[in-house]
């Protein structure tokens, strides 16, 4: 599993005291909060009201998948693709799915 010092969470999972690992930016590129901002209930509510759905926070405040769970999901991914390894398109698709899975850990 790639080491990261931040976690991507839903705004509904955010809690007071969590620290933003990346700035919160609207789709029109307007920045709402800077990196390092400490979240409060009031700020979380305001972000929700602005339509923000996800944020990056420092550390891993929410339990993520364990190393075993990650390895198991990769093993299952390989098994799912085991009968289409002769199809180049499917080999590429497996690579893409694996990359997305790792990115979203």
């Amino acid at each position: 599993m790639p080491p990261t010092d931040e976690q991507r969470i839903l705004i509904t999972q955010a809690a007071t005291g969590m620290v933003l690992a990346r700035p919160v930016v609207m789709p029109n590129k307007v920045s709402l909060c800077a990196r390092g901002t400490v979240l409060s209930d009031n700020l979380i509510t305001k972000l929700m009201a602005r339509g923000i759905k996800r944020i990056h926070v420092q550390g891993h405040p929410l339990p993520g998948p364990s190393q075993e769970a990650y390895l198991d999901s990769i093993k299952k991914l390989h098994e799912r693709f085991s009968r289409v390894r002769h199809v180049p398109l499917m080999v590429s698709l497996q690579y893409i799915v694996e990359r997305v899975m790792v990115k979203r850990l």
């Binding site: 759905k53 991914l77 098994e79 799912r80 009968r83 499917m90 899975m101």
Partner: protein, 284 residues
């Protein structure tokens, strides 16, 4: 030994609606209380493939109009009739809960992916379908597997048991054990339940989208969506091995491999929200 076709057809006529007790009770309570807006009821029913199919089928049976949207179908039937269908649905037997949860999960994932994919492909699509129709198309495409599990359990289990040791695909194995595959079962149910032609085409041709005359684009969306969500782990029961993605369907939708990562990201974002708010979807 497979069953004779008349036996399969006769048994298909007795297929009844089954539903998870938790969602059935919730819909029942909300309709009884009379306070939930139609949109909430539609959202709840549209997470249940069998209930959605039955509501759509009832509406299409009683009208010359073609209903592909649950909102329209429910408005046409009236909440009293919908309530009757919900109350008449049977609870899913304990022994089938795990496997059917996988089917429900795959159906909902495919419904979401079909919408995400259609939104992504919008500039290149010739025929624009509304979001609700696309959701239903993805949700109901694999009704045949649900019927195989619920009404031909013995034969379906035999086919699944052979799947691990045999490189044949699940459709062929079910056809050998039962006498008809999931696509045939789904198509028959769509006919009995009077589902509209677009949805029937998605059920019948989701594995060969280019054969769906008149509905190729929507069926191609469902085909690609099904392949992508199964690649991501939304599989029904032990039927876990992928079939190849149809390159002609990708070409029809003007999709490139380089588009898929962005599409998967959008899909996962939507699924995260669904899982958080509904808590009903479990990836295998």
């Amino acid at each position: 030994m497979s069953l004779p076709l008349p036996t399969i057809a006769a048994r298909m006529m007795t297929v009844s609606c089954m539903s998870f007790a938790s969602s059935r009770d919730k819909i029942d309570r909300l309709i009884s209380e009379g306070s939930a807006p139609l949109s909430v009821l539609v959202a709840l029913i549209s997470a249940d493939p069998l209930l959605s199919a039955q509501v759509l089928g009832q509406a299409n049976s009683s009208s010359t109009a073609e209903f592909t949207k649950l909102t329209d179908a429910m408005s046409h039937l009236g909440l009293g009739s919908v309530h009757g269908l919900v109350k008449a649905s049977l609870p899913i037997p304990e022994g089938l809960r795990r496997d059917l949860a996988g089917c429900w999960s795959l159906a909902n994932a495919c419904a979401n992916m079909t919408r995400v994919l259609a939104d992504y492909c919008t500039p290149t699509l010739a025929a624009k379908s509304d979001e609700e129709t696309l959701h239903v198309a993805g949700l109901l495409h694999d009704l045949g597997t649900i019927v195989a599990m619920t009404h031909f359990g013995e034969e379906y289990t035999r086919a699944l048991n052979r799947l691990g040791e045999n490189r044949s695909n699940i459709n062929r194995l079910v056809r050998e054990e039962l006498g008809a595959d999931q696509v045939a079962l789904g198509t028959l149910l769509a006919s009995y339940w009077r589902l509209p032609p677009l949805i029937t085409a998605c059920i019948r041709y989701h594995q060969q989208p280019l054969r769906a005359d008149g509905f190729q684009e929507t069926v191609a969306l469902v085909h690609v969506s099904r392949c992508l969500v199964r690649a991501c782990g939304f599989v029904s029961g032990a039927d876990r091995f992928l079939e190849p993605l149809d390159e002609e369907a990708m070409a029809l939708l003007k999709l490139r491999l380089s588009d898929l990562e962005r599409i998967l990201d959008r899909f996962y974002d939507q699924m995260e929200e669904l899982e958080l708010y509904e808590g009903v979807l479990a990836r295998s």
